[in-house]
Amino acid sequence: MIKPNVYHSLGLNDKEYRHILKILKRNPSNTELAMFSVEWSEHCGYLCSRKWLKLLPKAGKYKTLIGEDSGGIIIDDLAIVFKMESHNHPSQVEPKQGAATGVGGIIRDIFTAGARPIASLNSLRFGPLTQAYNKYLLGGVVNGIQFYGNCVGVPTVGGEIYFDESYSGNCLVNAMCIGIAKKEKLMRARACGKGNAIMYVGSSTGRDGIGGCSILASNEFKEGEEKRPTVQIGDPFTEKCLIEATLEAINTGYLVGIKDMGAAGLTCCTSEMASAGNSGMDVELQAVPRREENMEPWEVMMSESQERMLVCVKKGKEENIRKIFLKWDLNASVIGRVTEDGLVTIRDKGKIVARINAHALTKAPIYDMPYRKPGYLRKLNKLKLSEIPDPKDYNKILLKLLAAPSITNKAWVYRQYDHMVQTNTIVLPGSDAAVLRLKGTNKGIAATTDCNSRYCFLNPYRGAQIAVAEAARNLVCSGAHPAAVTDCLNFGNPKKPESFWQFKNCVEGIRDACKSFNLSVVSGNVSFYNESPKSAINPTPAIGMIGIVKDIKKTCSQNFKQEGDAVILLGYCRQDLGATEYLKEIHHLTGGDAPQLDLKLEQAVQKTCLKAIEEGLVNSAHDCSEGGLAVALAECCISNKDQMIGANIDKLNYDIRPDALLFGESQSRIILSCSQDSVGRLRKIALEFKAPFYVIGQTCRRFLRILNGTEELIYLSLEDLNEAWRDSLQKNIEG
């Protein structure tokens, strides 16, 4: 008989324990109990979220692939496989290794699908840099990403970083990886075929990371807890070898299935591969390569040592596969065989230590969580504009916003990432989206991540829709057709109805926006319990989106290219001051509602922009987001340090507050520049799609000037803009 405090300490409740007894028809062994506890943890089992995740569209305009651990789309004969995953809690505890192993884990999810990883992105959130620990976290996380990503030879081409008080005590590290494969080479994470070998490949097993997913990722942080030992340690060199060996092994055609030993290591791999293959397996733990002595069976099953995988190999081909891994100086050991009994049988020196039905073990209970709209929103959503003083000196405000951590130049970060290795990066970090060529074709892909969590906090449904719309807009500005989505849903404690309401509404927002764009959600990840003793994080449904560039010669970047070009605004400027960076940075106010979003208007603007780029009419394209029109224009002027170009914006004529015109965050707006000869054609395209089209000024030499009617709101030299924006993050961090 196992005492309640034992299974409680493993995160299982009484009802779940009774369910386990029913499945086994006997008391569980220690190893079995541990296996249930991780398979039924929120991190692995998606108990609270699964009901809602089913809402997300699984089909879209491109043929969609949904695998066990990742998903993708098919373009001609290529599969583009991608996924985003969180590593928040480990990073909060040990930022360098937490972030590094996050990168390593997501890369493994991609190449175990048979795809060569070609790019990484990451979506990061920290508390304000005024606090020393947040600086330490940012430095450590960036260090971890560069340490792992640079060595493993996958370029880190993009992402986003935002700062907000809600992340103090619980930073977010979401890593995304993209890979490509010939579609016939794709692999599944399954084991089947009686007698086929179960092989363990990669690093040896130690005690690192035991309980990482069940303990660390499925609870919120409480003060004074020491959780460092549950963080894994990354070895990018081994991973690099593992990538090459695995792809070589897949190429032989002798593999039946393969799966990364990520969260909950061998437990997940054995049970989920058997379950996915409708089979069983019989495994001997003594055959598992180890780096520590006297490990208990349950420790071997729970270990989250990195850079390991489980492979199902056709019977008789074990030696061929072993040789490939040995060539790369990696372990490769047959630890078991596929069976037909549907049971995962785990032995230690021949003695059975666990025997569980694979389907039952992997089918974690689904919970229907109660949800409730938070009471505080009613008050927060009301914004009395009359109470917000008009600051008058807009120049000063613009400079302040350009230096704000969430807006300022992020080169200090991406300079530390090798973003060029593999020689595919056509549009480098620092523009709206990264663009990669697909060698051997004339096509390319664009990728971005997006989420404004302040919008999601004030209006989860619309905030999530905007995250999708903005990600698509970023891709379009690079010349890509939005193609498919991966999401990483970061929320607080799902057992709190207010938190769960945020989750539910965000999922519905993603669903509706994706349906409107005809995009499938091919993969994703949920991270709950992102809370510090002070508060929950802002709901942060990070959207990773891939787009297709039909002709790699027709891409676009955000910076103005030459003097004398027409500057065009697609879209409307409305009095959208709610939830803005401006309110937060200047008026220290998080309030109002998320900006309005009209998905029809959004489509019209995006289609116009894309067609204009594909016709070769556009010299630059930039989406208006945080900081509004003024910040977007400033970025167009200065983001290329070798070639800064000014703009005289003298044709605006709006009857709204000047601060709303300059810094309001109305959605569905894109700033284009083109030669004067192309304006007529561009106007026709806008008319065709019914997109609002305004020539608002022209590029010029050394300044940015913005007028509304005859009133001059902004007049700043490029040097001043550049000084505010260029190095403020670095100064902030390095002092």
Partner: protein, 233 residues
């Protein structure tokens, strides 16, 4: 004219170099596994960028003991052409084929960025197609590119015209402001006294096609091809 590209288990620019030689320049090329020793039939051996054996200790410190390195030392002794790029340069220093050492970058961070370098010596088999003083736009991506050598060594490099590339501004000014990593004398690339071994931190294979933003690195490979084909006829 045949190229060989060394593959250490942690190399990660080997495939990029291979692509440039085969698909951009259209020349024969093969990989050389780090445990192999046969370099027969090769005219030019490239040690590519990456993290040879993880480089957790000191860059290139383990690679110098690899079987392939022994063959490369012999190969270069017989006048064979050797190019070390980034990690390859670091390995050539560790192996003693080029003088000096690499320190961590001055700001202690990995730096990935386009830089400008000045062709200080175009009278080599690696730079024959450049004009004297030509400025190249080319990316760097490294943690340890802060080249160092003692005063006597530096004098020797200068006296023998062994400094091939120096970091500079887009207009060619060579000074500390345009030194990305703190390298002594802005050194970005050097050759040996026999002039058949080149080590450089910037990546010519990443700047060999216009669509990537610069084609300036292409002419290093092209110069070598021209040299080898000319000396052969």
């Amino acid at each position: 004219m045949k190229f060989g590209i060394v593959v250490f288990p942690g190399s990660n620019c080997d495939q990029d170099c291979f692509y440039v030689i085969k698909d951009v320049l259209g020349k024969p090329v093969k990989y050389i596994w780090h445990k192999d020793t046969d370099l027969a039939g090769l005219d030019c051996v490239i040690l590519p960028g990456g993290f040879s054996y993880g480089d957790y200790l000191r860059t290139g410190a383990i690679a110098r003991f690899s079987p392939v390195l022994k063959s490369i030392v012999k190969f270069s002794g017989k006048g064979g052409t050797v190019i070390g790029i980034c990690n390859g340069f670091q390995i050539l220093l560790e192996a003693g084929l080029l003088p000096g050492v690499m320190l961590k970058n001055r700001d202690l961070h990995f730096i990935c960025s386009y830089v400008y370098i000045k062709t200080e010596n175009n009278d080599t088999r690696f730079t024959g197609l450049y004009n004297p003083g030509q400025i190249l736009k080319i990316p760097i991506a490294h943690n340890e590119g802060n080249y160092y050598i003692d005063a006597a060594g530096l004098k020797e490099l200068r006296d023998n015209n062994q400094i091939v590339f120096r970091y500079c501004s887009d207009a060619g000014e060579v000074n500390d402001k345009f030194n990305p990593n703190g390298a002594l004398d802005n050194i970005a690339g050097i050759i040996n006294r026999k002039r058949n071994v080149l080590g450089m931190m910037p990546h010519p294979e990443r700047s060999a096609e216009k669509e990537l933003g610069s084609k300036d690195g292409y002419f290093i490979f092209k110069s070598v091809i021209k040299y080898v084909e000319k000396t052969r006829t």
